[in-house]
């Protein structure tokens, strides 16, 4: 079994810079297929930066630069001939604040497939929209108002719409950057249940500030801290159960017990 059968993404000595500022220092991280990996750590330690480096969203920041490698299907995402547009189609993203397009629920879902060269019929698109909404556990809430604006939904529904929208372009990995931080506890639980469903078909990487969420929902956890130069580093990485019950590093223990940052 090769690494890339077991793992979807492998970060190798990945460092990220914003201009001359080193935000991430030499991170090595193997993301296992069909598992949920949580990235935790105090604010500003670079969790979002790592996540954005996994689907080249950092390209949108003009000053950002990535060193090292991120391997996906035996291919470095930062190799010169790799197209960021393709990377983002195969590695989807859900953001901290729900950001549906100011369009109908239907068009929110259909947008991704359409711009990616969808060739199917209208009925096939209807099916795809329904399928994506069902997978995001939103179908029953919205099946009667697909023409309504996506912005008319509640915060939790909007976030599930964003997940459904990401699913519609059939990615292999879904990156989630604090997807529940703007949501109430009930909506948060719904998203967590949804993640458990989705991991059977997708690999999920989630940034979270919520220790319970990481402990409840994830299979692996990576704990980040800033080093002396304020660059983010991995302090400890392992199966979530081990990391939370039996942390190897004193700093991890301090953080998860709330004695830290």
């Amino acid at each position: 079994m090769t690494t890339q059968d077991r793992y979807t993404l492998n970060a190798r000595n990945m460092s990220v810079f914003y201009g001359s500022f080193k935000a991430i220092n030499s991170v090595n991280l193997d993301i296992e297929r069909n598992k949920i990996t949580a990235l935790i750590g105090p604010s500003g330690c670079g969790k979002s930066t790592v996540l954005r480096s996994f689907n080249r969203m950092n390209d949108l920041v003009p000053s950002a630069r990535v060193e090292g490698e991120v391997i996906f299907h035996n291919q470095n995402l930062y190799a010169p001939h790799v197209d960021a547009v393709e990377v983002r189609r195969r590695i989807g993203m859900v953001f901290q604040k729900p950001n549906p397009f100011p369009k109908s629920i239907y068009d929110n879902i259909a947008f991704g497939p359409r711009i990616s060269g969808w060739k199917g019929s209208k009925t096939e698109m209807d099916d795809l929209v329904e399928h994506s909404l069902r997978n995001a556990a939103l179908w029953d809430d919205v099946k009667d108002k697909l023409k309504a604006s996506g912005l008319a939904l509640s915060g939790g529904q909007q976030q599930r719409l964003c997940i459904a929208r990401a699913l519609a372009v059939e990615p292999e990995v879904i990156l989630m950057d604090e997807p529940c931080s703007a949501l109430d506890p009930i909506s948060t639980l719904k998203i967590e249940e949804l993640m458990m469903e989705l991991k059977q078909r997708y690999t999920i990487v989630i940034v979270t500030h919520n220790m319970q969420q990481a402990a409840r929902a994830s299979d692996y956890t990576a704990f980040f801290l800033m080093n002396a130069e304020r660059a983010g580093e991995i302090v400890e990485y392992g199966p979530t159960g081990d990391l939370f019950t039996n942390p190897k590093d004193k700093r991890t223990e301090d953080y998860i017990t709330g004695r830290f940052g």
Partner: protein, 417 residues
């Protein structure tokens, strides 16, 4: 409230000192508030005075003198006669030669009723204006005016007249203020503005997209940006001179329509004026559009890129629709500036006396501000009145455009949310 004991150790005021301090801070706010109210009032008063002057001149008494009393021509008022009856009067009262000349320019059967009425008033009645009075004068000093007219020109009749009327909009320019209208100028302005928008909107939006979305932040692009910002403040007469040099002279074969097979015109056409106006308003459109594009939330772009959209797809499907209300509003506001501009039109050579409707981009033309400028510089009082009426027409046009801008903005931003 009972003040607690003073605490001399702290730099913060306490007790009575704190209350005095609050009163002082409040008083400062009150003073500023009345100053702001004052500024608002000054603005309102200025606007009211402007409107008052224009309305005051657009309506009022006019003393009309005749060589021939209209009552001797017909037993009904001339305005109530049909075209055919008017033609008969005209034929009976001018020489057959003169009638034939008129018939040859435009056959009577093709002339409008107002047109024929104008001819009758001009050629037969030989109407002239003995005096005009403003609305306030007419209302307040009517008896004094009547006495004055009776003394100075006993033959004249005093009538209340609205200089702004349906006929004013539909009759062309004339050297007789009583029958002159703004039709030609109105069409000229509309043609010019239409063509200006046709060029300025896509070019301005395109430039804004380039500058906001594609241009790197380097010295070259910063220089371009600074220049655009500065161009927005260049006096309009300078654009007029640029338009004269480039569009009227240099590009004459194009702007006169010769390369398109239009014969017999020079470069002083609607097209030249439109292109000059385009230059004038492009900086404003670009700056407004850039601002609108910048205001599209980053989260929307991220969502689009995150689904695998290319840059252009993101611009096309999210940035432009999101920015469109702002771009359109900016364009319309810029265009309403262009409608009122006079100086560049004078420089690129708008005609001041022209009676035929413009029929396309290669026509000679006049425009509302030119017409107004022309009329206000005449000595006779009645031209002041029709100038005021023409200003009302221009103002209505501007208000209409601005309301459209507001409507578009509300409609589109409602759809966006």
């Amino acid at each position: 409230m009972d003040a607690p004991e003073e605490k001399p150790t702290s730099g913060l005021p306490h007790g009575a000192a704190m209350q005095r301090n609050i009163v002082r801070r409040r008083r400062k706010g009150t003073v500023l508030r009345s100053i702001f109210l004052g500024s608002t009032l000054i603005g309102l008063v200025a606007l009211a005075v402007l409107l008052f002057t224009i309305i005051n001149d657009s309506f009022g008494l006019v003393a009309l003198d005749y060589k021939v009393d209209p009552a001797t021509l017909s037993d009904r008022p001339l305005e109530e006669l049909s075209r055919d009856e008017l033609v008969v009067i005209l034929q009976d009262n001018i020489s057959s030669n003169a009638f034939r000349t008129l018939e040859r320019t435009t056959p009577m059967a093709q002339r409008s009723e107002g047109d024929v009425l104008g001819l009758v008033l001009e050629r037969v009645v030989k109407q002239s204006v003995a005096g005009t009075w403003s609305l306030t004068d007419s209302l307040l000093n009517r008896s004094a005016i009547e006495a004055q007219v009776a003394a100075e020109s006993p033959a004249a009749t005093l009538k209340f007249r609205s200089w702004l009327s349906g006929g004013f909009l539909t009759t062309p320019m004339s050297s007789n203020a009583l029958i002159a209208g703004v039709r030609t100028a109105l069409f000229g302005s509309l043609w010019m503005i239409g063509i200006t928008i046709l060029f300025a909107f896509p070019i301005g939006t395109g430039a804004a997209i380039y500058l906001e979305e594609y241009a790197r932040d380097n010295r070259f692009n910063r220089i371009i940006q600074t220049n655009i910002n500065n161009l927005a403040g260049v006096p309009s007469i300078i654009y007029g001179m640029l338009g004269l040099a480039v569009f009227v002279r240099l590009l004459e074969p194009v702007t006169s329509g010769r390369v398109f097979g239009v014969e017999g015109s020079n470069g002083r056409t609607i097209l030249s004026a439109s292109l000059t106006m385009m230059l004038l308003i492009l900086p404003i459109i670009i700056i407004n559009a850039q601002e609108a594009i910048r205001a599209v939330p980053l989260s929307l772009r991220q969502a689009s890129y995150g689904l695998g959209a290319t840059k252009w797809q993101t611009i096309r499907h999210h940035v432009l629709p999101g920015a469109m209300p702002g771009i359109l509003t900016g364009t319309i506001l810029a265009v309403s500036r262009a409608i009122g501009e006079t100086a560049p039109l004078i420089v690129v050579g708008a005609s001041t006396f022209i009676v035929s409707d413009p029929d396309g981009p290669f026509s000679k033309f006049t425009a509302l501000p030119i017409q107004i400028y022309n009329w206000t510089s005449r000595a006779q009082g009645e031209f002041g009145n029709i100038a005021a009426a023409a200003i009302m027409v221009l103002l209505v046009m501007l208000l209409t455009l601005n309301s459209i801008a507001v409507l578009i903005r509300n409609r589109l931003s409602r759809r966006a949310s």
